[in-house]
């Protein structure tokens, strides 16, 4: 990987690591901390080499306590630093919800602008890799109901770089959620130079005019495969990667629904009040008359995220998404 090359092929976790290195080099206010992020370079190597490169003052192994990891980010931000804490698995952000929802999200608001919260809280999540309980839970829908946070969920290595750089430079708190299943299985070309992907701009992954499939994070890959599957049947499924849930690219959503008339939303989260509900509510509000069929949801089920033997059929898979596409297209 040389600086003269325009792009390099990277896995998602490599792209994240690469970006953390760059952002720490670019801005000495950036501090990375969390459980096992320092000496060990993170349990998935996302922070590998950072401590060697930037020292143990800027890359810090914390005690095992998510509440104070999130809580100290508030104080560090007020001190003028740019905190990039890691929660080892998103499910353990529940231990820090009072600091995330009650404090990080409203530091600017509580202080009426005196303090900013340029905090990027990274956390992996998502199923399919046989992790123990509370490692897989997709709780983005819960976070999206908390005003003051931004919710960023990349689906490609290039986006992981571009969105993470944007997040770290953003003056407001960002929940940066990384798909465990994609850490090593997602690989694409990543620009080696400065690369920023703005928040609130969805990405068309595959073209198509018969139906639009909205997805984010690893579900984009599942949707893409389903689109490929139905392409053979003559169905043009446009897959749209939302990239960021807050802020949300409403224009692209509405336009796609207007053009396709049919839509499917895919999420790993349990069905009830996952973020797919919000997408459907927005479509109802802004594009109801374009709908030629009910928008379909393909979701996890309304049951706790299951143990290993059961998880593959809990998470939306290619077959379920393809079936939803077919049903939607067949509805008239």
């Amino acid at each position: 990987m040389t600086d003269t090359a325009t792009t390099a092929s990277m896995t998602m976790v490599e792209a994240i690591n690469h970006t953390l290195h760059r952002e720490m080099a670019r801005d000495e206010r950036v501090v990375v901390f969390g459980e096992d992020v320092g000496h060990n370079g993170g349990v998935f190597r996302a922070t590998d080499g950072l401590q060697a490169a930037f020292g143990s003052r800027r890359v810090v192994d914390t005690p095992l306590a998510e509440g104070v990891i999130a809580g100290t980010a508030v104080g560090l931000a007020a001190a003028g630093l740019v905190p990039v804490p890691e929660i080892q698995f998103l499910g353990f952000s529940y231990q820090a919800f009072h600091q995330i929802a009650g404090q990080i999200a409203r530091l600017r608001y509580r202080s009426q602008g005196r303090f900013e919260g340029p905090i990027t809280l990274r956390a992996p999540f998502g199923g399919g890799v046989r992790t123990p309980e509370l490692h897989s839970e997709a709780i983005e829908g819960q976070l999206a109901n908390i005003p003051g946070l931004k919710i960023v969920m990349p689906a490609s290595a290039a986006d992981a770089k571009g969105l993470l750089a944007t997040a770290i430079r953003d003056p407001d708190p960002v929940m940066f959620l990384e798909p465990l299943r994609g850490y090593r299985s997602i690989r694409d070309e990543v620009p080696l130079g400065d690369h920023l992907v703005p928040f609130g701009q969805a990405r068309e992954v595959t073209p198509g005019d018969d139906v639009v499939v909205f997805a984010w994070s690893y579900m984009v890959e599942v949707a893409r495969r389903a689109a490929e599957e139905v392409a053979g049947e003559g169905i043009g499924a446009r897959v749209v990667d939302l990239r960021t849930l807050v802020p949300l690219d409403l224009d692209t959503i509405v336009q796609a629904v207007e053009q396709c008339g049919r839509a499917v939303v895919v999420q790993e989260a349990p069905e009830t009040n996952g973020f797919a509900a919000e997408i459907i509510a927005l479509i109802n509000e802004h594009a109801l008359w374009s709908l030629e069929a009910p928008v379909m949801r393909v979701s996890g089920y309304d049951a706790p995220y299951p143990v290993g033997r059961l998880e593959d059929r809990y998470i939306p898979d290619q077959g379920r998404v393809a079936a939803a596409i077919r049903t939607t297209v067949a509805t008239r």
Binding site: V68, G75, A79, G80, R108, Y109, S111, K150, G200, L250
Partner: protein, 345 residues
């Protein structure tokens, strides 16, 4: 700590002027607080929490700090006693209790954070801030106030433990006023003292008489020197008694025993200090009158300012993000379309 001695006794090197200033600010705190309480009774302020009993702790601590380098993170009773950190603190407090969003904004260069309602949540912030000073090699310490009740929250322990590991320049000031609303300290913990909890963190914990402004001043000064020397945090438990209702919404006669209240009234921190200064001929009735009048007038002004501060009815859209989302812009437009542009109060 049972009620006992009734006059501040600590040795110290404060000048006579400084001693008088301590008492003035203690009196000021109570005057501000009492007016706030009454404003609520008149329907002019929201729920607020009186300071009575905490004056020596707040003022003693505040005078042990350097307002140009040190930070204070309050719980919710302290703003009235932090005059030393900036004259404007009280204006902000008046905004706060009258429900104005600006009440959360203590302007630069005042190194005081807004009141914290989510109990103990400010403690990790203090540790983060102290850690931030440390990382930037900035001189200064952070002092964080929290109650005996707040000490039961995980946030206190997690923050104390991490601060110990970091050897961060932070002072944990536990205000033990005997009660968390109706819950007495013996239902809050079985630890021999709140100071003892520092053993869990590996730094010193000390107990001081929280009715004795000089004792508090001395303890905080020592903790500050420790912190500045790079020796890490100190936990100070300042023991006093809540001499007023928990808040404007509380009826303490349901749970505070009369005799206990009476005993502690005899140890009123303001009385004690007044007695000491009077005996040293540093305080007389004129001083008393002046201290009260000055505070009264200052609070009057603060309340006037607060009550006449314009409040855009859609002000809650401000300061959520640096730049509002498109969705918020749409919501704000809808708000204005519905209620009208000029709406405010």
């Amino acid at each position: 700590m049972a009620p006992g001695s009734t006059a501040p006794t600590s040795t110290h090197d404060l000048s006579d002027d400084q001693l008088r200033q301590l008492l003035r600010e203690m009196i000021g705190a109570r005057v501000f607080s009492t007016r706030a309480f009454n404003l609520q009774r008149q329907g002019r302020a929201g729920t607020n929490a009186p300071v009575d009993g905490n004056e020596a702790i707040i003022v003693g601590a505040s005078h042990a700090l350097d307002p140009t380098t040190d930070w204070v993170l309050p719980q919710y009773r302290e703003l009235v006693g932090l005059q030393r950190f900036g004259d404007e603190v009280i204006d902000r407090y008046a905004l706060y209790i009258t429900g104005h969003p600006g009440g959360g904004h203590l302007p630069e260069p005042i190194r005081v954070w807004p009141p914290q309602i989510s109990l103990a949540a400010q403690i990790p912030h203090a540790v983060g801030l102290a850690w931030g000073l440390q990382l930037q090699d900035t001189e200064g310490v952070v002092l964080v106030f929290f109650g005996d009740g707040a000490s039961s929250e995980g946030d206190f322990y997690e923050a104390g433990n991490f601060a110990g590991v970091l050897a961060a320049p932070v002072i944990f000031l536990c205000v033990n006023n005997g009660w968390a609303i109706s819950t007495p300290t013996h239902r809050q913990t079985s630890a021999a003292s709140f100071a003892d909890k520092a053993a869990a963190f590996g730094f010193p914990g000390i107990q001081v008489d929280g009715t004795d402004v000089l004792a508090v001043h001395e303890a905080v000064s020592a903790a500050r020197h420790r912190a500045l020397a790079g020796d890490g945090p100190t936990l100070i438990e300042a023991v006093t008694y809540r001499l007023a209702p928990h808040t404007t919404a509380d009826d303490p006669t349901r749970y505070q025993p009369d005799h206990e209240v009476a005993e502690w009234r005899d140890r009123d921190p303001i009385e004690s200090m007044r007695r000491l200064l009077t005996s040293r001929k540093l305080w007389n009735d004129d001083d008393e009158q002046e201290a009260n009048d000055t505070a009264d007038e200052r609070m009057e002004l603060a309340v006037q300012r607060a009550e006449s501060a314009p409040t855009p009815a859609d002000g809650f859209f401000d300061h959520v993000y640096a730049t509002p989302t498109e969705r918020m812009i749409r919501q704000r437009a809808a708000f204005r379309a519905h209620y009208g542009q000029e709406d405010g109060q």
